[in-house]
């Protein structure tokens, strides 16, 4: 048997691939915004919250970081209907990605916050800034700047992890690949094509986050001002 690669059979299904890519991108974008926000909130809870908040945030982080993503996804999609909560595959995928990213982002952001020099906080307090102002203006931006590369990597891991969302019939990129190869049996070509698409998207996403971070998330680095 010689290998005869037939990419035409796979590329002919480009509307399916495009639809899958758009779904993966949309899920990633939405869950990144919500997940990072949740992560920052949990990081705040673990550093500044009361005993109960600290315990709740810690329990959430440990629970999510020590269980597989696919189990979390199946729990939301197949388990929650038992409690009367029925979510569409897309909604369940989004929720699972947010919850997953939130837990990892919480620990990453917390590491950034923990590294804030004591003098910086004291300086802010001596200027009579409120605790809220100290956190959002003085502690958080440099903390995010410090951990931005790690956070970017985590976002990309979650994006790549969204490949399992096809298991619950979310029509994302790997779902498209599986569907195409189950129709024309061009498994090798299908997976080569989606591998390239995932790779391209991940590289693009990394560039985008590296570009967007300094502009919108934590302000320009001091030197560039």
């Amino acid at each position: 048997m010689t290998v005869t690669l037939d990419f035409g059979a796979v590329l002919a299904e480009w509307p399916l691939l495009l639809k899958g890519l758009v779904m993966t991108a949309a899920l990633t974008a939405a869950s990144t915004c919500a997940g990072v926000t949740l992560g920052v909130a949990c990081a705040w809870g673990r550093v500044h919250g009361g005993t109960a908040v600290k315990a709740a945030a810690a329990a959430y982080v440990e629970l999510i970081r020590n269980t597989p993503f696919i189990v979390q996804l199946f729990f939301i999609y197949f388990g929650l209907p038992g409690l009367g909560i029925k979510l569409a595959p897309e909604a369940a995928s989004f929720l699972a990605m947010v919850i997953n990213l939130g837990a990892y982002a919480a620990e990453i952001v917390r590491a950034g916050i923990a590294n804030t020099p004591r003098g910086q906080i004291e300086a802010a307090q001596s200027l009579a800034l409120s605790p809220k102002q100290v956190f959002t203006r003085v502690v958080l931006p440099p903390a995010l700047q410090r951990v931005w590369p790690a956070l970017t990597s985590q976002i990309i891991i979650v994006m790549l992890g969204s490949a399992v969302c096809g298991q619950i019939a979310t029509q994302e990129l790997s779902y498209a690949a599986n569907l195409i190869q189950s129709r024309n049996f061009r498994a090798f070509e299908s997976y080569i094509v989606v591998t390239a698409l995932y790779l391209g998207f991940a590289v693009l996403l990394r560039q985008l986050l590296a570009w967007a971070g300094p502009r919108w998330i934590f302000g320009r680095p001091a030197a560039a001002r």
């Binding site: 010689t2 190869q181 498994a187």
Partner: protein, 260 residues
Amino acid sequence: MKLLLKNIAWAALVLAPLVSVAQTALDDAIAKKTLTVAIPTDFPPFGFVGTDLKPQGLDIDIANYIAAKLGLKAELVPVTSANRIPYLQTRKADLVVSTLGKNPEREKVIDFTIAYSPFYQAVFAAKPLVLKGPADLAGKVIGVTRGAIEDMELTRIAPASADIKRFEDNNATVSAFVSGQVQVIATGASVAGTVMQRNPQLGTEFKFVLKESPNFIGVAKGEDKLRLKVNEILIAAKASGDLDKLALKWLGRPAGDLPQ
């Protein structure tokens, strides 16, 4: 650079079996004294995992039967509906005994032996839902296993407004139906039978047949030597009544007349 070279070497190693020569599956199996057979573990009573965590069912018995007749040890590899054909194409399995139906698209990429058991796919749902034919599927949410025969049939006949949700394997499709994520399930008669038996509260009933589709054994394209040998074994098993005995044991009815 070194890493890149290493990766290329690995890729070559992994892809090497793809370019191996045809017509050697039977000789290879005899040399190894093992016949590698892809079987389902998500498809009772054809293939499922028992309480001892070992696969069992009609397909497993057939796999063991053929291996025994060839004087080989059967090595069972669990596969899903979606990946069983790639397993053959990449020579990870010599035979696929996995409730495999025959259709022209599949015949382009693999070869089939004669049929070994009867089977049909149908649409099932709770009693109050009226489904007399494909047209009634409009606006319904239907669960199906991606790449299975019932997926092809359903995709062909369902109206555009039917919301078909495709899952990776039968377990996921059944979970989606049992948890109420889909209203209708399109699947094999045997799977539906198990669903009804284990979840009587759902009031699931048979609605209409999608396709009569006896099961065939898949062999890699061009492996005629192995295919003809398996055909011989199946014809002898039919004549001796062994095939009927196995069908009776697992399906509750004899294998009956099967297409060649």
